[in-house]
Point group: C2
Chain length 652, copies 2
């Protein structure tokens, strides 16, 4: 009977018998434990490092000793001579089993890695990239063998890695013969989706990188990762060069509609921005363009179309028809991206609807609200609020036209969130004394050391101001000021950099009322559609969502009632979703199915939206804070008239 | 019981019962008869024209009358009002069956068309192109339908044409929305290989063209065809611009090896040539670049690699390793071809071996020698002779290094086949009086009216001259002149344009002996390998093969004995093969399998080649014409020494 030993692997806990003399790599594989290897077990890549856990393991019925592994061979030693050895690490492809063993596989040696994206919300990302590297040894060309190098490489990849049905890109094909020559018939190849060879390098080589890019209408944000480890190596942001054709989306759509080459110019502008961004990412990380082989691009539907060079005109009005909603796999060459390898691939996530783009698809991938157990709302608030509601494995989505008020536009002293902007406001309900805090300062205005003068008020500041004004009785439930005037002063002239007080005007209150009513009505619609009466969790995505105070947002009725500790800022969920799609090809592959699964509610055609909108105009949270009184039909009719006036920007 | 009628279709002969009132198009389909339609039966394309054969058809048991078809409807009449109506043609998508009918489907209305390539050999080509056009009507975008236009088009193509799993190219995607708008939700799409939409045009549109290109080291030859009808619309030829880097293949390989950017420059040169050629083809045919959607490119292995931008260095010497032997489907964009639609595809046929390229693959597709019944040899003779031998469903191939002598190089008064070149020679065995004929002249030199002076002697001329010199006893079986001297005069000084006689020298005879021995030895090797002792047919491809006299070629032992009427010039088989691959995607798809099926004989490593070569040096067909005497071993040894001397270009 052949001699066998017990081998247990942690952390998986798998164990079993393996024959004496078996390589650890093979022993693990025979027990269904996958250890990483790029070189295919040739003691070159060092990716299969493991360590022996010594001691008595009663549950496995064995005593594990380091000496139960074969001694370090000359070849393994050659590897360690050139690499840093942590603790008593061994190469699983070199060490063989000669007694009972408990083997620890460190996370970096596992085939199925995970990385944690650290941000407002920590997300665990599975590392299953679309582009993987394989080291392979080919047969030499022979006079009586008329196959080409590529056919020999295909055979070797099939035999050594089980890959078959591969194609090869032109750029890899051009590298192939010299790489084989320089590598002595051994090459490292980068393979996309297990189907296409993108790159060939001589001998053993490492280094496959990818960049996830969130293409916003204002800002492009890039995240460069090592596709093998999943590690985030650099991030960069740059202004979307399209901004010179218009600040907001509609002006870009209008540029595309009215200029004969408008779409092409907008396409070229965003591509120029992408090239700049990619360049910044790789410079910061010390990565060469040739090493960047995969891109994931997300953006709203207008950005999605303009990246593809598609005229976005029809996204500018009903029925908001997308030219294409599906996911796209492209080459960077066809997009005009030159800052990455010419062999690189680019993937665009699908759009959910004409008004609910691939950026919200990325939010969906990052949040998966339908899988969290309760009724979970995710809102990404910008000029449009993109809303997802997940409940019992179903997903509803809508896009609500909040307008730019939350971003500080249409507000007399409004500004973007930047140093100097008032972001926190408190009003004493008794004295109506105001204190505030500006971005970039750690102290409140009444505390010692507050030197930074206020430059304006940003979205989160105006929300707090209005909530506090309402609580202090300065404004009424319908939004009107108790006392008419030029507005309520938040910062006195001497506290500002503009030589004048910063005030909240009646018009400002109206603008915020309209914006928050649109958001809240959209959420209510989705809740009605989903049969959800109360939210278990509200997750606020995006920069604005990270800064607002959940308590104040709820106080003005911007978001529905919810346990305040369950209102969570989740940061740049779109960027995280793009990173997830970059690192995890399986989640990427699920995106089109998820997009189809979403039950999209088109607010514009929803008959009840107007009612919900009107109902949401009111500002609860007044001095007698408590449950809102049941509104009579007469009162609702009055509010309808009021909303009409507000919508016309009228003020009496 | 429902009323039915008998309907018979010719030329297929299919017949059966169809219900009263059935559309002819559907009736045909139900009986397995396919009638062409681009518009999907909407009386727009007129591709389904048929006519009624009237009379009594005893074998079908019926009387067919034109009145057994429904009268021409207003909609059908609208079509005829705008189109020329041949005879009593009807649209099968409009006419319905109201009695027994015999229906004739003219060739142009058949789905499975054939075209006849007219040349030295007439070839029937099946028209089953890789790119086909479909007219399709889509649903309009709706506010509550969040699919994109592309998703709606996919659905329509699936429902109306049974196409599924389609992808769409970026260029088509950019055309899609405006095409749908301009076409009132109806578009015509061009689909490649039933899998990718390449082009979208508004409404009903026609016109998909392709170009087959034979990329020779000297000349590029293009053949533009209508991909629907298979019709050849124009041909063009242009010089391969690589020629400035060297006349012959080896000097180009050497340029690629020695210059750092040599491969890129050679690639750019051939691509520039392709662009020029495509431009010429489409100008001649009045076709726009956007209508050219498919290219098939063939060339020897060095051209194959240089078209792809692959360094051909390793093709310059043993083991003649190809970088890739397989077929390639590429976009013209990646190749740098700009003269066709940017959405166009390019297909490269596979190479058979490092010294037997895609051009010979095209010859194989055109000739299919293994399917002709007997033992059939195909030789495409140039600097290398590429040889195919088919017998009993097997194919053998070899490439024999004939050198450039057959093209007039290395011959004292040699020249390429061009006006003024001596192409025919006769010598009276008794008087040794010479008469000749030059290219561009219809009469022999001794006949009245022969005014064109000779400029040199081309390949076919030198073969006839040597055969006739041998028959007249001027040279011996071993190739030596009976009488030493400066050479044998073919044209006297007064008959030439060079002010001197045109002669055949001892060196010329040696050069031709070497070339024909290489060719013949290669053929013999293949015959030995195939176990073939006598050829049933010899098919000579290429320009040289079209001009030589089979009788003289056989007389000097250039080709093995064969019934002289079965030695056939088949013209530009490589070009015809490229056209076949362009028009018939099924044959194109068979090429890689055929290439693998070929049993390639690498002459350089074949031990018996040297013996065969030496044996083939002798010139049979002397004055005592008849069977060659059995050569003794001593005589063979003497010839071996002689061949060695000849190979060193020595002359005693």
């Amino acid at each position: 009977m052949p001699v066998t030993h017990r081998v247990a692997f942690s952390p998986s806990g798998r164990q079993g018998s393996v024959p004496d003399g078996a390589r650890l790599l093979d022993a693990a594989s025979s027990l269904g434990v996958e250890i990483e290897s790029i070189c295919g077990g040739r003691q070159m890549c060092g990716k299969c490092q493991v360590s022996v856990e010594t001691g008595e393991f009663a549950k496995h019925g064995m005593v594990s000793r380091a000496s139960n592994l074969s001694p370090v061979s000359a070849r393994e030693q050659a590897y360690w001579d050139h690499h840093v050895r942590t603790e008593d690490r061994r190469l699983a492809c070199a060490a063989t089993v000669c007694g009972d063993l408990s083997i620890f596989i460190p996370p970096e040696s596992a085939v199925h890695k995970q990385v944690v994206a650290k941000g407002a919300a920590e997300r665990v990302i599975e590392v299953r990239p679309a582009v993987r590297q394989y080291y392979v040894e080919c047969e030499a060309a022979q006079l009586d063998d008329r196959r080409g190098d590529w056919e020999r490489l295909q055979k070797a990849l099939h035999e050594q890695w089980g890959l078959h049905g591969l194609s090869i890109g032109l750029f890899a094909l051009r590298q192939l013969q010299s790489a084989l020559r320089d590598g002595g018939h051994a090459v490292s190849v980068a393979v996309w989706q297990g189907s296409e060879v993108l790159r060939v390098q001589p001998g053993y080589a490492e280094g496959v990188y990818g960049i996830a890019i969130d293409v916003g209408s204002t800002t492009l944000a890039g995240y460069l990762s090592d596709l093998r480890t999943g590690q985030l190596l650099s991030t960069a942001g740059t202004v979307n060069p399209q901004i010179r054709f218009g600040e907001d989306l509609m002006s870009r759509v209008s540029y595309a509609m009215t200029q004969s080459d408008g779409t092409a110019r907008l396409h070229e502008a965003v591509v120029a921005g992408l090239n700049e961004l990619i360049g910044e990412c790789i410079r910061d990380a010390g990565v060469s363009p040739e090493q960047v082989l995969d891109l994931v691009l997300v953006g709203n539907s207008v950005m999605h179309h303009l990246m593809l060079g598609i005229d976005p005109s029809e996204l500018g009005g009903a029925p908001f028809a997308l030219s294409a909603s599906g996911a796209f796999d492209l080459t960077v060459r066809d997009l005009g991206i030159t800052a990455a390898s010419p062999a690189a691939r680019a993937h665009l996530l699908p759009c959910i609807a004409g008004q609910n783009g691939a950026d919200n698809m990325a939010v969906l991938l990052a949040e998966m609200p339908h899988r969290k157990g309760g009724a979970v709302l995710v809102a990404d608030i910008g000029t449009n609020a993109e809303i997802l509601l997940g409940s019992r494995d179903r997903i509803w989505a809508a896009s609500s036209p909040t307008g730019p008020a939350f971003e500080g536009a249409q507000i007399q002293h409004g500004q973007r969130a930047a140093p100097g902007a008032i972001e926190r406001v408190r009003i004493d309900p008794g004295t109506r004394a105001v204190t505030f805090k500006v971005i970039g300062s750690d102290v409140w205005s009444h505390e010692p050391g507050a030197v930074l003068p206020a430059t304006g008020i940003c979205g989160s500041g105006i929300i707090e101001a209005i909530a506090e004004m309402r609580r202090a009785g300065i404004i009424r439930a319908d939004g009107r000021f108790e006392e008419r005037g030029a507005g309520f002063v938040i910062a006195a002239a001497h506290q500002t950099s503009i030589g004048a007080p910063i005030v909240v005007t009646q018009n400002d209150v109206r603008a915020i009322q309209l914006a928050k009513a649109a958001l809240c009505a959209g959420i209510k619609l989705l809740m009605n559609r989903a049969g959800v009466t109360r939210l278990d969790e509200i997750r606020l995505a995006g920069a604005f969502g990270s800064f607002i105070s959940p308590r104040h947002a709820m106080a003005i009725g911007m978001i529905p009632e919810c346990e305040v500790t369950n209102v969570i800022a989740v940061g740049n969920a779109a960027g995280d979703g793009a990173r997830i799609a970059l690192l995890d090809r399986e989640t990427r592959a699920q995106a089109p199915g998820l997009a189809r699964m979403v039950e999209y509610v088109s607010i514009a055609v929803e008959p009840s939206f107007q009612d919900e909108f009107v109902a949401a105009m009111a500002l609860p949270g007044g001095p007698a804070a408590g449950s809102a009184p049941e509104r009579s039909r007469r009162e609702r009719r009055r509010q309808l008239a009021l909303a009409g006036a507000a919508a016309r920007d009228g003020e009496s």
